[in-house]
């Protein structure tokens, strides 16, 4: 029987607003007590003085490049990166190679992730076979295999009839459909339409690529009552449509990526391929709207949009470079940075990467539904300990991810990031520990 006692930390449970100095006692993967001067006998102790003790982060968008990159050991390195970032649950999209459209693939992925015991993995199943947007997948079987929802990842469903049928079918069984709103025809460029793309001669993706898709999705939700999660909104106009849909009471939730929350197209600078991202970085007014929407709850969750890209795929002319950046290790720090900028207290800031994304997952979490993203007695012992006073530099050397590209690289930004993860606990066991712990 394994026991752990985390002593004298600042315990924050964002969902309940709990924020107090306390000990957390853990046994057999569960939190047995949260209180003062707990005595649990022969438990292993972790001194959390000066640290925040919070629920492990729940990241709704992280690519692990497996299947497809097994030879590079991507799954192992990227799940270790998640643990190093305090993430204990993550959702991966189905655009692997081959896509997650067969129960066997999903079972294998879940099995391999479980064996690595770095982080819980919640795959999304492909909404259509091969993500081709034509034939529905066997959602019941995929769901049994462990899929928490169904998604097209970045592949649009061009045929609106197929999208309507997919939503109707998913709604029959109460599955959530995860869609990134982007029109397949308007979304072919490599940078957001605007003065920067025009000046640099990069093909543009207009805001209408997002809003046209949103209008379609929202109208289909209205007629099917399907539950839809909108992935990685990028524009102020998109936020306005989401706000209106939520006000109407439609079953829609949404997330935003750390990149869209902190960066704009101006950061592309002299064709910096680390800024080649999907969705593309938009303008300052879009960033402001996204930050406000995340603060007021219109956008439910902040996601890393982790997508490790190797040097050979990134050291190319901007348009040819593979979109994406390593981000799962930066999620907590970038949430804290946003919270500080907005004057939010820690519980409200941290809710966007813990309890709120867990709420989006809902029954997809299975037995963890009541306690994932939370710190409660009797709940699962998935925790993150971080030092809120520490800062760190994101560099090639400091990243665990095999992808070494991030727009927040210290040598590009000259800016250190706030908050350093000291330890991550997964089901009562340490999945990451920084050394030395102060």
């Amino acid at each position: 029987m394994s026991r752990l006692l985390i002593q004298s930390g600042r315990v924050i449970d964002p969902a309940s607003g709990r924020d107090e100095a306390a000990d957390v006692a853990i046994a057999d993967g569960r939190i047995t007590a949260i209180g003062h001067a707990l005595d649990v006998g022969s438990a292993r102790h972790i001194d959390a003085t000066g640290c925040v003790v919070m629920p492990g982060l729940v990241d709704l968008a992280a690519r692990l490049r497996e299947p497809g990159h097994e030879h590079e050991g991507m799954l192992e390195s990227e799940l270790r990166a998640a643990a190093a970032g305090g993430v204990t649950s993550l959702v991966c999209p189905p655009d692997t190679d081959p896509p997650l459209d067969e129960p066997g693939l999903v079972e294998m992925l879940k099995f391999r992730a479980r064996k690595l015991s770095s982080c819980r993995l919640f795959p999304l199943g492909a909404l259509t076979r091969g993500l081709a947007g034509e034939v529905l997948t066997e959602m019941a079987e995929l769901s049994e295999a462990g899929c928490v929802g169904f998604s097209q990842a970045d592949a649009p469903v061009r045929d609106t009839m197929v999208l309507l049928r997919a939503l109707q079918y998913a709604a029959t069984f109460g599955h959530t459909v995860w869609l990134r709103p982007q029109d397949g025809w308007l979304g072919k460029g490599v940078a957001a339409s605007g003065a920067v793309a025009t000046r640099l001669g990069l093909s543009g993706i207009p805001v209408a690529a997002e809003t046209v898709a949103l209008h379609t999705i929202i109208e289909l939700v209205r007629t099917t009552s399907a539950r839809v999660h909108l992935c990685r909104l990028s524009s102020a106009a998109g936020v306005a449509l989401l706000r209106q849909a939520k006000r109407e009471g439609l079953p829609i939730s949404a997330d935003v990526s750390v990149h869209s929350l902190h960066l704009t197209d101006v950061d592309i600078g002299y064709f910096n391929a680390d800024m080649r991202l999907t969705p593309p970085l938009r303008q300052g007014a879009d960033r402001t709207a996204l930050r406000e929407a995340l603060a007021d709850g219109t956008i439910d969750a902040l996601v890393s949009d982790h997508h490790p890209v190797l040097d050979d795929e990134k050291n190319l002319p901007f348009a040819e470079a593979e979109p994406g950046a390593s981000a799962v290790e930066l999620l907590l720090s970038l949430a804290l940075k946003w919270g500080q900028d907005h004057g939010l207290d820690l519980p409200r800031t941290l809710a966007r990467v813990t309890s709120e994304p867990a709420r989006v997952l809902g029954r997809g979490l299975g037995g963890l539904q009541a306690s994932a993203g939370r710190l409660i007695e009797g709940g699962v012992a998935d925790l993150c300990l971080f030092d809120p006073a520490a800062t760190w530099r994101a560099t090639r050397e400091s990243l665990t991810s095999q992808g070494k590209h991030t727009p927040f690289d210290f040598f590009a930004t000259g800016t250190a990031l706030p908050g350093r993860v000291r330890a991550t606990v997964l089901a009562g066991e340490l999945s990451f520990r920084a050394e030395p712990m102060s």
């Binding site: 339409s193 003065a195 001669g201 990069l202 002319p317 901007f318 727009p407 930004t413």
Partner: protein, 320 residues
């Protein structure tokens, strides 16, 4: 985000690569034009050579086909006494799957001193400049839709030659601006040199409103765009744009935005007409205008060699 130094200038603000006209100080642009003036006479000598780049190896790296631009760079480099190596990359290494940076590393190992780069993707010369050895200089000979700085500079040389002063001019750039690296380089050069009115003229599909942020007046009406202009720069309409979602047909474009004698009459009486070539007679420009008294299309070509000599000799003399 930290703003980085313009990668084409060294710590003293001197030109070490020519990647774009954007961000170049006016003095640097003027220095190129003045230097080009001194080289113009070399082209008229019996022995058309000066020894400024003797012993240097200039590699023409054309990832995209171009006979005309490559030839003018070759002539310019040879008149500076450089050894010129032409590589038709489009048909060699990349076809064998070699990456851009591997190609560059290999050529650097052959002790190249200067790369003249044309590439189909915007920004490719920046990537090359970042990854080549510090002593190697890079000249952008056209990248995607982004920039064609030597064309921009030779256009400025031409305008200065015929108009002398930039501070009173109205310049109209007409045609497919959205896909044109020449237009972008001209716009940056004209605004840098203090031209008070630069107009971008064409249909909404080819002239995006965002261009206003580059300091130009956007005109979707040909008459409004040309009226009172001192300089008209016509752009080449690429064959693949002549029919499709951008334009219905070459004929309709000729009718609405092609430069005919009638439309030219709206410009100043002493207006000059320019074109980066090769021209589509009867599409963007009428033959009678291209061959007429306002046309300075052939002097542009002559000046282009002197301007490229100036660029190469200046950057070769500056150290990173």
């Amino acid at each position: 985000m930290l703003s980085r130094r313009n990668p084409q200038l060294n710590a003293h603000g001197e030109l070490i690569h020519l990647l774009s006209i954007e961000g170049l100080p006016r003095e640097v642009v003027t220095q190129v034009l003045d230097t080009a003036g001194t080289f113009l006479s070399v082209n008229d000598r019996e022995v058309k050579k000066v020894p400024l780049l003797r012993g240097k190896s200039v590699f023409n790296l054309f990832f995209e086909n171009s006979t005309r631009t490559r030839t003018t760079f070759e002539i310019a480099a040879k008149r500076l006494s450089a050894d010129v190596i032409n590589l038709d990359i489009a048909r060699s290494s990349t076809a064998k799957g070699e990456s851009l940076l591997d190609t560059i590393a290999n050529l650097s190992a052959m002790h190249a001193d200067m790369f003249i780069v044309r590439h189909g993707e915007s920004g490719a010369p920046y990537l090359i400049a970042q990854h080549c050895a510090p002593h190697v200089h890079v000249v952008n000979a056209g990248d995607g839709r982004h920039a064609h700085p030597t064309q921009g500079l030779l256009d400025m040389y031409t305008i200065r030659h015929f108009k002398r002063d930039f501070s009173q001019l109205t310049v109209a750039i007409v045609g497919d601006i959205v896909h044109s690296r020449v237009a972008r380089s001209d716009i940056h050069a004209l605004t840098t040199l203090g031209v008070p009115e630069v107009r971008a003229v064409g249909p909404r599909t080819l002239v995006p409103g965002d261009l206003r942020e580059m300091g130009v007046r956007v005109c979707h009406d040909m008459a409004e765009g040309i009226r009172g202009a001192d300089v008209i720069i016509m752009l080449r309409l690429q064959n693949e744009r002549m029919s499709g979602a951008m334009l219905p047909s070459a004929g309709e474009f000729a009718k609405t935005f092609g430069l005919t004698p009638d439309k030219l009459a709206l410009a100043k009486p002493d207006a000059i007409v320019m074109h980066p070539g090769p021209i589509n007679r009867g599409v963007e420009i009428d033959s009678s205008v291209a061959d007429g008294s306002h046309s300075v299309i052939l002097p542009q070509v002559t000046f282009g060699i002197a301007v490229r000599m100036a660029v190469m000799s200046i950057i070769a003399g500056n150290e990173a």
